[in-house]
Assembly symmetry: C2
Homo-oligomer: 221 residues x 2
């Protein structure tokens, strides 16, 4: 069975993109544990879907598995990164360094995923100047300057909702390409600029819906 030439337009289904990003986390964990090869059924077992779906998701990726053998974990991870656009260093900035912004700065291993944190901004004088994981918090007044200078492509918004749109506008006019918006404010952006919304409370609601499907089980201590 021959692998077809890679499709010109790597246009993946959105659900596939979502799963691929999660597979990557799983693959990295396996790799850390020293594992070299994984099969679609093992990955499906961990992810809780089917081997068929895993193969279908991986099908479009440039890298090939070995028929009968499974996938080389490192190669597969690299193929996913490349396909998602994380092959070159993706520059990002954090805007708003309160509790949330600081947690992200300290805790998300950007480097491990082909991204580089190259700026943290706030407007609170007591926060400006703090150094977090090697990055100094800067005054938000120089946001545009820094974003343009470093050709930053993505930003995370962790400011109060009331100023989110204003900062989004400033980011967009500085040439940013995508915004990860953690505030509750829905943003208006021009076409060609992408916004990804993320609300933990929504995950709770979705979980509540799942839970509603069956009654609370009895404790089993």
């Amino acid at each position: 069975m021959q692998k077809k030439e890679a499709p010109l337009h790597n246009n993946l289904a959105w659900p596939t993109v979502q799963r691929l990003s999660e597979y990557l986390i799983i693959l990295e964990q396996f790799a850390e544990g020293g594992r070299e090869v994984i099969s679609s059924s093992e990955l499906a077992e961990v992810y809780s879907n089917t081997p068929s779906q895993v193969r279908q998701d991986i099908f479009r990726l440039p890298n090939t598995g070995r028929v009968g053998q499974g996938y080389r974990i490192k190669e597969l991870a690299e193929a996913i990164r490349e396909t998602l656009g994380l092959d070159s260093v993706t520059k990002i900035v954090i805007v708003g360094c309160g509790r949330m912004g600081m947690t992200l700065a300290q805790h998300i291993p950007f480097g491990e995923h082909g991204m580089k944190l190259c700026g943290i901004f706030d407007n609170d004088p007591t926060i400006i100047g703090l150094e977090i994981e090697g990055t100094k918090v800067e005054d938000v007044s120089i946001l545009e300057k820094k974003v343009v200078e470093s050709a930053v492509s993505m930003a995370v918004l962790c400011v109060p909702a009331s100023v989110a749109q204003e900062l989004a506008d400033r980011l967009v006019s500085s040439g940013i390409k995508g915004i990860l918006n953690l505030t509750r404010q829905r943003l208006k952006v021009p076409p060609g600029i992408y916004v990804q919304y993320e609300q933990i409370i929504c995950s709770f609601m979705q979980l509540a819906y799942k839970c509603k499907q069956s009654p609370r089980p009895a404790p089993n201590l």
Copy 2:
């Protein structure tokens, strides 16, 4: 045009559930602003989808809009909450009160969404006893006892990945129904228990993929 009787089994499509939870956030913001009525096209404009999809999503909900008039925001919000399973108070606990756990405790308005935070647990003596937004951090050794006592139905895991599975097991054996897992550890749980995974880094990756579709625009200051 007659509204059909409510379907017996309110089995919503999963993408619909996801959108409904986001509509709710939007509706709450409109309500705060004093708005009383909203049309499917206005909601679609803010959410960035189509009026048709909005109507299709709302279609199965018990509450009715007024033909020609739009939806009463409060009624619609209430219908969504009810459908998602947030009509009665859903009890939740936070497990792990480091940076992430603390941010959630302080920042997520559980009460506004039909949920009640009724416990925060950690194993660090310097953290145990702290009071966060009116809830004391307790020793994780009494986790099972408290979960059973209060009939808690959902938990958020914000502990190090290395202890995530162990704590998930303890939660499950205490009768928990759903786990919102913020750690990178994929969890094994028995059937009938639901896990919702949430990784901000995955949102970044998904955003990177969106951004890859077109080149970075020139700044426009």
